[in-house]
């Protein structure tokens, strides 16, 4: 089987990730930050190392700004639900994943907030203008994806960040598809809340993610409980990261994530992105030349896209295509990819799209084999 579903979760993982995760069963099996014995302390240090690794990858001011979560969705929910007050207005993009859309929509359904959807364009200036046009006096946050999980389109997050700073609006970026692929410096980009998946471009185990923010102490909590700190106090501590990390953390996942981040830092985001985009542009070019193949972006390239390509074969649904490719030995995802707004925009709500998402371990030979297989299905 050749794996092309890295936008859902990356596979394979670097060997060191499995080794580090296994250490939680063999060496670092105690509860970190709870007990006083040596194994607990050693485990806590390993968790800290992973936190520090993430902080350094994203140029944070201190490791306490990293909150370990179960996934990117979890991180987005902590930030949005912790921040929004009755009467607030939020702007999201028309490419959002349900990770952003659903928490915002849920709060709106409850009558707490209102939200607007900004249209995105190939021209970044038009996209920024679209966000600007939706700003109102009660706009408290812009929450947008860094890159579409369906079409790979990169949003102009730097310019949107500038807009947020100028208008004193909080800024959340969903970097599920870009963390570990594109260099992200939240401080210089003006990002207040950076939400990442640990199990995609950072090569950690599934069930890992992180919220990175210097504003964690200001958030209302959606989960309270034991933190191993201030234990006699009935109130949830303000101190970060404890405030947002109640309950026993996912040591196995975090240790693996730390190793995944170390892998990315060694390779560098730039090298990973260059490798993956070489494959993606070759793939896009081959698909574009095939009859019966429908693509959804007129262009695809470095700087404007991440290595995620959606397509369909005329006359069949995306799920039919991915099922046929599965039988031929290729793992792709079909359907809506939890991003109904993006499909509404591209008019693919009925058929979905077959999505090819490339990872660091894919090769040009993989791409050629996949294109051969798609060609055969299209010609049949």
């Amino acid at each position: 089987m050749i794996y092309f579903d890295n936008a859902a979760t990356s596979f394979p993982k670097p060997k060191r990730v499995a080794q580090a995760a296994c250490q939680s069963f063999t060496e670092y099996g105690a509860n970190p930050g709870r007990s006083g014995h040596q194994m607990s302390m050693q485990t806590a240090i390993k968790v800290y190392d992973a936190r520090e690794n993430l902080a350094e990858l994203f140029g944070l001011q201190s490791p306490e700004e990293v909150v370990f979560t179960s996934n990117c969705t979890h991180a987005v929910n902590i930030a949005i639900k912790g921040l929004m007050r009755k009467g607030d207005h939020v702007i999201i993009s028309d490419l959002e994943h349900n990770a952003v859309l659903r928490p915002v929509h849920t709060l709106a359904q409850r009558g707490l907030i209102t939200y607007s959807v900004a249209e995105t364009f190939a021209d970044p200036k038009l996209t920024v203008a679209s966000f600007a046009a939706h700003i109102r006096p009660d706009t408290r946050m812009i929450a947008c994806t860094h890159a579409s999980n369906v079409f790979g389109t990169i949003l102009p997050i730097e310019e949107i960040g500038r807009l947020c700073r100028d208008r004193d609006i909080l800024y959340l970026v969903d970097a599920a598809q870009t963390a570990g692929v594109l260099e992200i410096d939240p401080l210089s980009l003006g990002i207040d809340f950076l939400c990442v998946a640990g199990h995609k471009g950072l090569y950690g185990p599934p069930g890992t993610g992180a919220l990175m923010t210097p504003l964690g102490s200001l958030l209302d909590t959606i989960i309270e409980g034991g933190t191993g700190s201030f234990s006699a106090n009935f109130d949830q501590p303000r101190e970060m990261p404890d405030r947002l990390e109640s309950g026993t953390v996912n040591t196995m996942g975090i240790l693996g994530l730390g190793a995944g981040v170390a892998f990315v830092r060694e390779k560098t985001c730039k090298a990973i992105y260059t490798h993956e985009m070489k494959l993606a542009t070759e793939l896009f070019s081959q698909l574009k030349s095939m009859p019966k193949i429908v693509l959804y972006t007129p262009d695809f390239g470095f700087g404007t896209h991440v290595p995620v390509v959606s397509f369909n074969i005329k006359g069949q649904s995306s799920e039919q295509t991915t099922a046929q490719l599965d039988e031929a030995g290729f793992a792709l995802r079909g359907g809506l990819h939890c991003a109904p707004l993006a499909h509404r925009k591209m008019r693919t709500l009925e058929v979905g799209t077959a999505r090819i998402s490339i990872g660091a371990f894919n090769t040009i030979a993989h791409v050629h084999k996949l294109c051969d297989a798609i060609g055969k299905i299209a010609r049949a």
Partner: protein, 92 residues
Amino acid sequence: MLLHSFFGAQPSAFIIRGEAMNGGTVLFNSITWAIRAQKLLNGQGIGSNIRKISKVGQSKGCAYGLDVKKDFSKALRILENSNIRIVDVIEA
């Protein structure tokens, strides 16, 4: 001897008799802060050991103590300059 006890103060608040200190324990409410402090001091050549302390003051509950046997005053100054959040300082 407990010198002070108020959460969130900076180390400078504790260096009343700092120059005379030889060893002592710096208290943190969170294991994350304790490890950060330990790593910071290690990088400056100051060894330390973290231990769990079950009760701090009248109501705060669990804390982590960083035992520093040598260069305690220097250690406190380093932590102060790095904005490390200290709960208490106990002189040896």
